[in-house]
């Protein structure tokens, strides 16, 4: 039975990897290398339509398989239209008397002919309208949110009906939830206060993990490799840390030496110490956001480049090599997906631990390095 399941899992993994390979099979004439580079850059960006793959048919037409998504702009009033109006950047969309053009995955306001003006550094100078569009990433975030909501609500209900014993998929999630409580929250935040932060830690862990895993499917989404998404998560950690900070937390920042020194000796030290501590408040969440973003972005670039090797080598050697490497990296990426979710949760818990500490708690950690 067990071998059967293993075989099934491996087959599924192979299928996923080969689908990813298919998804990048956008061949055309011209320079292969720059085309692959462009393709990778396009994949890393958010897009206004949910396209799975595209091909050029015999008549030379570009065909896209996927669904258009709504574009919502605020530009002298609300403007809502479907992204199919852009025809993947090939035409100009008209809404309420204004014209919009898709240029390098960004929407610019243009005239009826669609001219884009540039400054000296070749950056467009056209007006960018305020953009609230439901993009690919937003769709994935909504889907993940709904998935988590129904999954964990269902689990909670099954626990209630089953006398507190895990059932079905709960047997998979229970150890993970317990691990986050016993090995992340309690050692870092402390027995007394950890329950206050558990909802955030669990949510952020599963949210990042699920989105990372979705990034490895053939859907071709790259949500956690998006600076805006990771920044929002880090800002939540920042707000929670500082809004729940105890007086001891603020004392650590603005009076780290306490009563160990007379006040006149503290002045020259505090000129250096306090700015460093204050900067630390901002650097901590900043490192969180850069770490998650860069890891996921780098993983996607490596994976796509390895698949791109196939089209550069163009020999019988290239395909197995590129497939083998992509398969191995995919397996590593599965690990990285979990590891990054774990690190984000772990460091958030650590920061909450600083914020929640009271003085007696700080004393039994005496001598340990408390500031990162």
């Amino acid at each position: 039975m067990r071998t059967k399941i293993t075989v099934k899992t491996i087959t599924l993994l192979l299928l996923l990897v080969s689908f990813t390979a298919f998804a990048s099979e956008e061949t055309g004439k011209g320079d292969k290398k720059s085309e692959i580079k462009e393709y990778i850059q396009h994949h890393l960006k958010d897009s206004y339509d949910f396209s799975l793959f595209s091909y050029t048919n015999d008549a030379g037409e570009h065909k896209y398989i996927g669904a258009p998504l709504p574009v919502i702009l605020w530009d002298n009033g609300l403007k809502v239209f479907s992204s199919s109006k852009f025809h993947h950047g090939e035409t100009i969309a008209e809404a309420g008397g204004d014209y919009y053009k898709l240029y390098h995955s960004k929407i610019y306001k243009t005239d009826a002919a669609g001219t884009i003006n540039y400054d000296e550094e070749h950056h467009p100078t056209n007006v960018k309208p305020l953009d609230f569009s439901i993009t690919k990433s937003v769709v994935m975030i909504i889907i993940t949110g709904l998935l988590m909501f129904f999954l964990f609500r269902g689990l909670a209900r099954s626990y209630a009906n089953n006398g507190g014993i895990a059932k079905g998929v709960g047997r998979f999630f229970e150890p993970i939830v317990l691990y986050i409580r016993d090995d992340i929250a309690i050692p870092n935040i402390g027995e007394k206060k950890h329950m206050k932060y558990m909802p955030f830690l669990l949510t952020v862990f599963f949210f990042i993990w699920f989105l990372n895993m979705f990034g490895l499917t053939p859907l071709g989404v790259n949500v956690t490799g998006n600076l805006a998404v990771t920044a929002s998560l880090a800002i939540l950690t920042f707000l929670l840390t500082n809004l729940t900070g105890t007086s001891d937390y603020w004392k650590h920042i603005f009076d780290p030496l306490g009563d160990s020194m007379p006040w006149y000796a503290k002045i020259p030290l505090y000129v250096i110490l306090i700015p460093i501590e204050v900067l630390g408040i901002f650097i901590k969440p900043f490192s969180l956001l850069i770490r998650l973003y860069a890891n996921m972005q780098a993983g996607h670039i490596v994976l796509m480049s390895l698949i791109g090797l196939m089209f550069i080598f163009k020999s019988w050697l290239g395909s197995p090599l590129s497939f083998g490497l992509a398969f191995a990296i995919s397996l590593i990426e599965i690990l990285v997906a979990l590891l990054q979710a774990y690190i984000f949760t772990m460091l958030s818990a650590l920061y909450f631990g600083f914020a929640a500490e009271t003085h007696d708690h700080a004393e039994d950690h005496d001598g340990e390095v408390q500031h990162l």
Partner: protein
């Protein structure tokens, strides 16, 4: 570009040292495996963050 390479070398050495020391520590005290692993991952993640920051500053 040379700077990026240097940073990656530095980060590699740093994480390698952390991993090596963690191995030694686990070999000495296998019972505190969990704690050592957690500390190792945090330190490795922090160094990695610096590396990524440098790479983004270069590119």
């Amino acid at each position: 570009m040379v700077g990026a390479g240097l940073v990656v070398i530095g980060v590699g050495i740093g994480i390698g040292k952390i991993g090596g020391s963690a191995m030694e520590a686990i070999a000495r005290q296998p019972e505190s495996y969990g704690k050592i692993q957690t500390a190792m991952l945090i330190a490795a993640a922090l160094i990695e963050g610096i590396g990524f920051a440098a790479l983004f500053a270069v590119s």
